[in-house]
Amino acid sequence: MTDSILEVTDLSVEFATYGGRVKAVRGVSFDVKAGETLAIVGESGCGKSVTVQSLMGIIPMPPGEITGGVAKLNGKDILGLTSKEANEFRGVKIGMIFQDPMTSLNPTMTIGDQIAETLMVHRGMGKKDAFDRAIELLEKTKISEASKRAKQYPFEFSGGMLQRAMIAQSLACNPSLLIADEPTTALDVTIQAQILELMSELQRTENMSIILITHDLAVVARMADRVAVMYAGQIVESGTVDEIFYESAHPYTLGLRAAMPSNKTTREKKLTPILGSPPDLFHPPTGCGYFARCPYAMKSCEKMLPPECLLTAESNHQSRCWLQHPDAPRVQELFQPARTQEEAPDAG
């Protein structure tokens, strides 16, 4: 596709540990188009953070190792760069913000100096200019009294303010792609709303693409254009945000949705947890990763990995599930009960 700025194909990442090799990411492919937000959703340990960290080249190697795949940013390979080459694009072409701003910023430097440092390293700006630009960036992220704030240290900032400062830093070199790894998980809903609003606004004004890593489906509904659902190191379903929420085509996606109360859920209706736990990625299953927890599992699911099945010819909605395979018996009826059960109250 021509309008994709990032294309990832068949990415695999493993970690060598004392217990053996953990296959954290197992053949992940996705693309990000200019100006859109792609949300990668999944539970802890599903490999969503490792995926983007390997794109940024911030996985410690060893023990980490990218065992396969290609990632191209604007047509240029970004895996397997030398550390010098990696430094030239990291923070410049791609900006990144993290879940915990308190531990991601340097506690011994003022906020202004940290942002200025980025500009001095990547843009060759002088100290004074860089610091002035840092203040502008802080203003852009709506930090009041930015020139005073720039001279303060991280401990003097609240969590929400720190996240703004980190966004300011990540924007320093006008990246075309911002990776946000659980940016609001540590924040209160009110502050989360402010940060999400800030991100969408900056996305419009700076014309950035965003990869949003999160486990919170509500945040996905609010922010995403497209969604990739990850489970056990693989993308099990991908499509537009509406396809994922209203036409869920993978049992795991359905399971996630049934596990959360919606506005309409009353106490009489029990939440449906997903029983069991994710598979051991030291020895990943040969078949579908979700087999052991799937209410619709068939015998073939255990041994054979389902391919990524396209749901309709027109859309790009894919599901890695045998039930969606063209040769499978009609499955619409199978998924329907779970879906109507969840959405029935919406009708009235």
């Binding site: 802890s44 609240s158 809903v189 596990a259 506005n263 939440l271």
Partner: protein, 316 residues
Amino acid sequence: MLVKTENLKKHFQIGRGQNLHAVDGLSIEIAENEILGLVGESGSGKSTFGKTLIGLHPATSGKAYYKGEELPQRFTAADHLKYSRELQMIFQDPYSSLNPRMTVLDIVGEGISIQGQHTQSQVKELVAEWLIKVGLNADHMSRYPHEFSGGQRQRIGIARAMIIEPRFVVCDEPISALDVSVQAQVINLLDELKSSMGLTMLFIAHDLSMVRYVSDRMAVMYLGTLVEMGPSDQVFFEPQHPYTKLLIESNPEPDPRLERERGFVPIQGEITSPVNVGAGCRFADRCPSMSEQCQRETPPITQIASDHVVSCHLFS
């Protein structure tokens, strides 16, 4: 009323002349077999309130009652022994709330061992029974906390509180550290235990959708004070206090169409410092409908329906 507080306050001295008003005069009642949800931003004092209520913090002033009997302001060792049979707590962080050097048997069995009504072997039997009840395995009892996942640890924390068969449990953010699929497991478990043991709960959380789903009534706190309390659905769907409105508006729904339609104006500013707060409404500086009166006078608690109270000058 099983549990009741009257103007309960907890202030912390944090240096010369610096008083942190964590909980500043909270009056609530919780009926037998009811779940009261308590929501608010971090720093609003909800955890401190839960802990003060069951004697883990000595109260600064005000009164707390359990079964009509006034609880001591500062618990002595004997008080702890007496009340821990009935009042228990489940903590937020399943990683730091379990002693890493104790086995599961010691952690879960410690309470009933201290109560001293059971022999060693009875304690062991009970621990085994409870581990199974919370969905773990009896032979997990010789293991240490680090051998378990977050969800499993939270179950250990639940078993530790429930083995005593308490009447009243403070659940302090019991699910916020857990994955969505596991959250539902823990919520369903608490719900089962509630009906089988006739528990009363104070359910503290910041996940508004979950609190609405779990609790019968909902109380909203801001900077140590109660801003609104009423039946969960009423507070959630028809919030009255400006803060509650903004809080609920900030809460995203897992529904993209709804999110697109939402005219989105996030609440401005951040929660202010609870140190040395003066008169006036605590929310005044962030409130869209603030008037001069709000800065001068603390709003009284106003009853707007039989079971719905709001603390705001708009209603007084």
